[in-house]
């Protein structure tokens, strides 16, 4: 089988994960900018991180034959400090021309605060000014429903943004319809303890169809399973899905969305 991992924080993973992913049929990995698990102390920390995402990590992935792409932003978890966020947003354009940068992400909300909203609007404006695609993180647990609604309002308000060039990630049963009805793509994140299990993700695919949807593992430095996309493909097979329909969800759909960025090219298989 072949699949795309459209959301993996590979800088926090070990080389064994790269080997396992490639062995399982991974055709490329896309890495949104993320919180480090601690707050970076200045804009220089982001400069270094963006260099890691656009220079060092693609080289590390290439050692295992895996194309690596990334998205840039300051994560909503660090958005309470608006002044720092302004400095980071001002820094990002220097990196947008790098060959593996797909757009702005993962932006969004965490606790749904006023400052997080301000920083989200700054990122949406940045994407619009530079004609960039957007990848959005929605909040955790009890904050997800409200955060998803607020995010949709903010992005819809900016008429320069085409919804089909935006993916809103980490949807669950109570938010998937809001996102799809608004014309966006939706991502389902397969986590062992929160977000979505393989079984529930397949339920949602069966209930809502597989248009404008993708699956990801969102593997990072927390509890997560880098192979959860192929594991879910296996579960789809056990549930009677045919190979073509599985391929559409785990390969063709992310390929279709990501190919809207001209820099997204996969080597011929």
């Amino acid at each position: 089988m072949r699949y795309i991992e459209p959301h993996g924080h590979m800088v926090s993973r070990v080389t064994d994960d790269y080997i396992d992913m490639v062995t399982a049929g991974c055709a490329c990995v896309c890495e949104p900018a993320f919180w480090a698990g601690y707050d970076r102390s200045s804009v220089n920390g982001f400069y270094d991180y963006f260099c890691q995402l656009t220079d060092y990590e693609p080289k590390r992935a290439a050692k295992f034959g895996l194309p690596h792409f990334c998205w840039l932003c300051i994560n909503p978890k660090e958005s309470e400090d608006v002044k720092l966020a302004e400095e980071v947003v001002a820094l990002i354009p220097k990196f947008l021309d790098r060959p593996n940068v797909l757009g702005i992400g993962e932006i969004g909300l965490n606790k749904n605060s006023r400052n997080e909203m301000k920083v989200l609007e700054m990122h949406v404006d940045l994407a619009a000014r530079h004609n960039q695609m957007i990848l959005v993180h929605t909040p955790h647990l009890e904050d997800k429903l409200k955060g998803t609604r607020l995010i949709i309002e903010v992005i819809k308000r900016d008429k320069r943004i085409q919804p089909e060039r935006v993916i809103i990630d980490h949807v669950e049963e109570h938010t998937i319809k809001l996102v799809l009805d608004a014309g966006f793509w939706a991502g389902m994140t397969l986590y062992p303890e929160s977000k979505c299990s393989p079984a529930r993700a397949i339920d949602m695919l069966e209930n809502y169809g597989s248009e404008r949807l993708w699956l990801n593992s969102a593997c990072d430095w927390g509890v997560s399973i880098p192979l959860n996309v192929p594991y879910t493909a296996l579960e789809m097979k056990r549930r009677g899905w045919n190979a073509e329909d599985i391929d559409k969800v785990v390969y063709q759909n992310p390929l279709k969305f990501l190919s809207q960025c001209k820099k997204f090219k996969l080597p011929k298989a």
Binding site: S113, R114, E142, K146, L150, R239
Partner: protein, 89 residues
């Protein structure tokens, strides 16, 4: 899938999780001291499993969700606890 196929594939897993859930509630009962809003939300969510209502997973998620619409003044921290503490919580 037929209902038989769903049961074949998922019954043991669901049975296991249901017993875990029952044992969790027993454990909470046996423990001392005050519970908090999380247990109230949990009991409300468990109620969504009853009967033949559609979209149970969605209803359980809604039972744990912040239903308000306005952004909050300032993020109190970075984490989420899984249930909404209510206004002023």
């Amino acid at each position: 899938m037929t209902r038989q196929q769903v049961l074949d594939l998922y019954f043991m897993d669901a049975r296991f999780k249901l017993i875990e859930l029952a044992a969790f509630l027993d454990r909470v009962d046996r423990a001392e001291g005050q519970a908090d809003f999380r247990l109230d939300a949990f009991r409300q969510a468990v109620g969504e499993l009853d009967g033949n209502k559609p979209e149970r997973a969605k209803q359980v998620l809604l039972a744990f969700s912040d239903p308000t619409a306005e952004p909050i003044e300032k993020a109190p921290g970075k984490g989420a606890v899984g249930a909404w503490p209510g206004k002023g919580g």
